[in-house]
């Protein structure tokens, strides 16, 4: 990558997307931004526990990729996945309530920030082990092929996951079995605090796919239209050729790895360069320049999103705590015992 942060090659170039879709993608990108900002505030207030990984700065990659798919195409993601759920149309109230650990949360308070899922919307979840969800998406792709359906599975993973062996295994089997899978690497350039060039001998991560004859390319992950085009093309290829594709989107997260990371090791000038290419600001200019929205429209979108997030946060705060009786709910689809102490036992065995 060039030092100014530009990707320099292989972007999708000018895209003439549907104006309604462009407007919708901007709306969701902004929703993700303000959701994350509010989540950070609520974390500082102590309303959100555990780890909180924010996607601020990555909105173009998140939204562009999800919108490049059909709504029925299954997705898996990482622990930085609030934006994927929101992009799929999950209720911001339920997402925020899950972060608050309330019973109205998307996963009933069992998952938290790192483990959102919205099965109805084919969002198959956020996973906390780096690389761990990659084969799951290949399995979703396997099931699509097994049933002769024409959906495409997309797995979102970070640059750090490319050094996990399970990616290599997954790429190999996806190609070997001609599975409709889009491997979407959101390269935010740091695996926690370790820069890509300190972790990867080959920093053009999309080239990992070359070893398997899987077509792959790199796109500017700060450009939602480029990401949208690339994923649309990849999904089309996967759907029609029944073959995997890999996309690497170069983006940048504005915050540390998680809320507990003070972000002291990344160079300040690097952060400033990337912030100067803010995906929302850039996209606003495009939308205004092409006359797709007016300044008033943008103001209205922002206001509506802020109201949505305010409502979501209030909803989450007002939602009841998870009942302690739910402690042992859903350990099994077919449980034999709901006693969390000694739950391996059949009822009646405790004497």
């Amino acid at each position: 990558m060039a030092d100014d942060g530009s990707v320099g090659q292989q972007t999708a170039g000018p895209v003439s997307a549907d104006p309604g879709l462009m407007r919708q993608m901007f709306t969701v990108m902004h929703l993700v931004r303000v959701f994350e900002e509010r989540a950070a505030e609520e974390y500082m207030r102590g309303n959100i526990g555990g780890f909180l990984h924010l996607a601020i700065g990555e909105e173009a990659a998140v939204v562009g990729s999800v919108f490049g798919l059909r709504p029925t195409d299954p997705i898996t993601s990482t622990y930085r996945e609030h934006g994927q759920a929101l992009s799929r149309g999950s209720d911001p109230r339920a997402v925020m309530a899950e972060l608050f650990g309330r019973e109205t949360g998307l996963c009933g308070g069992h998952g938290g920030s790192m483990h959102l899922m919205d099965r109805e919307r084919a969002f198959y979840g956020g996973y906390g082990i780096v690389g761990g969800s990659i084969p799951l998406a290949v399995g979703l792709g396997f099931a699509i092929a097994y049933r002769g359906e024409d959906d495409v599975a997309l797995v979102m993973f970070g640059d750090g996951a490319t050094n996990q062996g399970v990616l290599t295994e997954s790429l190999n089997m996806a190609k070997l079995w001609n599975l409709p899978v889009v491997f979407f690497c959101l390269n935010n350039q740091y695996g926690m605090g370790t820069a890509v060039d300190r972790a990867s001998a080959e920093t053009e991560l999309f080239r990992r796919a070359d070893a398997f004859g899987i077509p792959s390319r790199r796109v500017d992950g700060m450009d939602v239209l480029a990401v949208h085009q690339a994923v649309s093309d990849a999904a089309h290829h996967a759907r029609t050729s029944h073959d995997p594709v890999m996309i690497e989107a170069i983006a940048y997260r504005y915050r540390g790895h998680s809320m507990s990371d003070p972000d002291k090791t990344r160079p300040e000038d690097e952060k400033a360069r990337w912030r100067a290419r803010d995906p929302l600001v850039t996209f606003e200019r495009v939308l205004l320049g092409e006359g797709i929205v007016s300044s008033d429209d943008l103001a209205a979108i922002r206001e509506a999103n802020l109201a949505t997030i305010e409502d979501a946060a209030q909803f989450a705060a007002a939602s009841p705590a998870v009942a302690e009786s739910a402690l042992a709910d859903d350990v099994y689809a077919h449980p034999w015992n709901d006693d969390p102490r000694g739950s391996a036992l059949m009822p009646g065995g405790g004497g």
Binding site: Y124, G132, P135, V138, F142, Y332, A333, H334, G350
Partner: protein, 332 residues
């Protein structure tokens, strides 16, 4: 097909029958694993299934245990019913992240939105001079994990009936077979004979001491019981069949009558299956026990290669008989 199934079969053939019947019964069932198709399985448990069901249903994989177990989990999340064969339990260690972090957690951590109806089959155990890396008995590891169900059949009948239950179950089942039992013959049930999980079998009735064992150790326990019977010691042998769920009711009911218990485990002693059984017995039968529970386990060492050392490391009928005599002596 299934109606022709013989009433007697080997443990291996019983497993094959279970898979054949369930493959025929439900198109969502498929097999995946290393060398299970063309090669018909490292232990020939999948013999004939590729020929009968074709490569869509019987999928040969590369040597990528974490990858294909994960693929099975993903397929199960979308409603298929994969039966994943790991060539041996030893290779499950490579796939442990997928089994523990994904298969066992997905239903719970996502609030019950997605079940994971997968069966992960694998043979384990020692006794063939395969040394340290190929001789594991990891029942305790899997039993430790909430979200998994763990079956460890000891007979051909149970192998077939429990595997059919596992395949139809909506939860992830780790199905632990025993390499040492594959050739063992015995009666098997028909296509509709299933066994519920969490129902122990009383393999031998007796009044003096309860021996609890699973899988191949059941046969060791029975051999010990025969030895002891010659001396007038009458042992009851309980086979829990599944270690999660565990039928403590049957175990405790037996111990409350015999007042003595020996737990046998092919795995290691620390935090092992026998340790777990002993704890449950203490918790539920303390007032009935006449002596501490005795454990007979593998030696607390990596498995050695040399035949005599390997035999010394494994639970034997003699060791079980000695343990029974010891607990009876302390309680006398």
């Amino acid at each position: 097909m299934s109606s022709d199934a013989p009433a007697t079969a080997s443990y291996r053939e019983a497993l094959t029958q279970a898979m054949r019947e369930e493959l025929a019964r439900d198109d969502n069932v498929f097999l995946m694993g290393e060398d299970i198709g063309l090669f018909e399985g490292s232990f020939k448990v999948t013999r004939g299934l590729l020929k009968e069901f074709g490569p869509r249903r019987v999928v040969d994989t590369p040597i990528s245990e974490a990858g294909f177990v994960g693929i099975g989990i993903g397929a199960a999340m979308s409603g298929l019913r994969p039966i994943i064969e790991l060539m041996t339990v030893n290779f499950s260690i490579v796939a442990m992240d997928q089994i523990v972090n994904n298969a066992a957690k997905i239903h719970y951590m996502f609030g019950g939105q997605t079940a994971v109806p997968i069966v992960i089959r694998m043979p384990g155990g020692a006794g063939h001079q395969l040394a340290a890396q190929h001789s594991h008995s990891l029942e305790a590891w899997f039993t430790h994990i909430p979200g998994l169900k763990v079956a460890c059949p000891s007979t051909p009948y149970d192998a077939k009936a429990l595997l059919k239950t596992a395949i139809r179950d909506d939860d992830p089942v780790v199905f632990l077979e025993s390499e040492g039992l594959y050739a063992k013959k015995g009666p098997v049930g028909g296509p509709d004979d299933l066994l519920p999980f969490g129902q122990a079998a009383v393999r031998r009735q007796g009044a003096d001491c309860t021996i609890v064992a699973v899988s191949r150790m059941v046969w060791i326990a029975l051999a010990a019981a025969e030895q002891l019977a010659a001396d007038g010691i009458d042992c009851e042998v309980i086979d829990p069949r599944t270690t999660r769920p565990l039928d403590l009711e049957t175990i405790a009911g037996s111990v409350r009558r015999t007042n003595h218990c020996v737990a046998v485990d092919e795995g290691w002693p620390e935090c092992g299956l026998a340790a777990n059984i002993a704890t449950h017995v203490y918790e539920s039968c303390f007032d009935w026990l006449d002596a501490p529970v005795e454990r007979v386990t593998a030696a607390d060492v990596p498995m050695p290669y040399a035949r005599n050392l390997e035999q010394a490391a494994l639970p034997s009928a003699d060791a079980v008989a000695t343990a029974v005599r010891a607990t009876l002596a302390r309680g006398a």
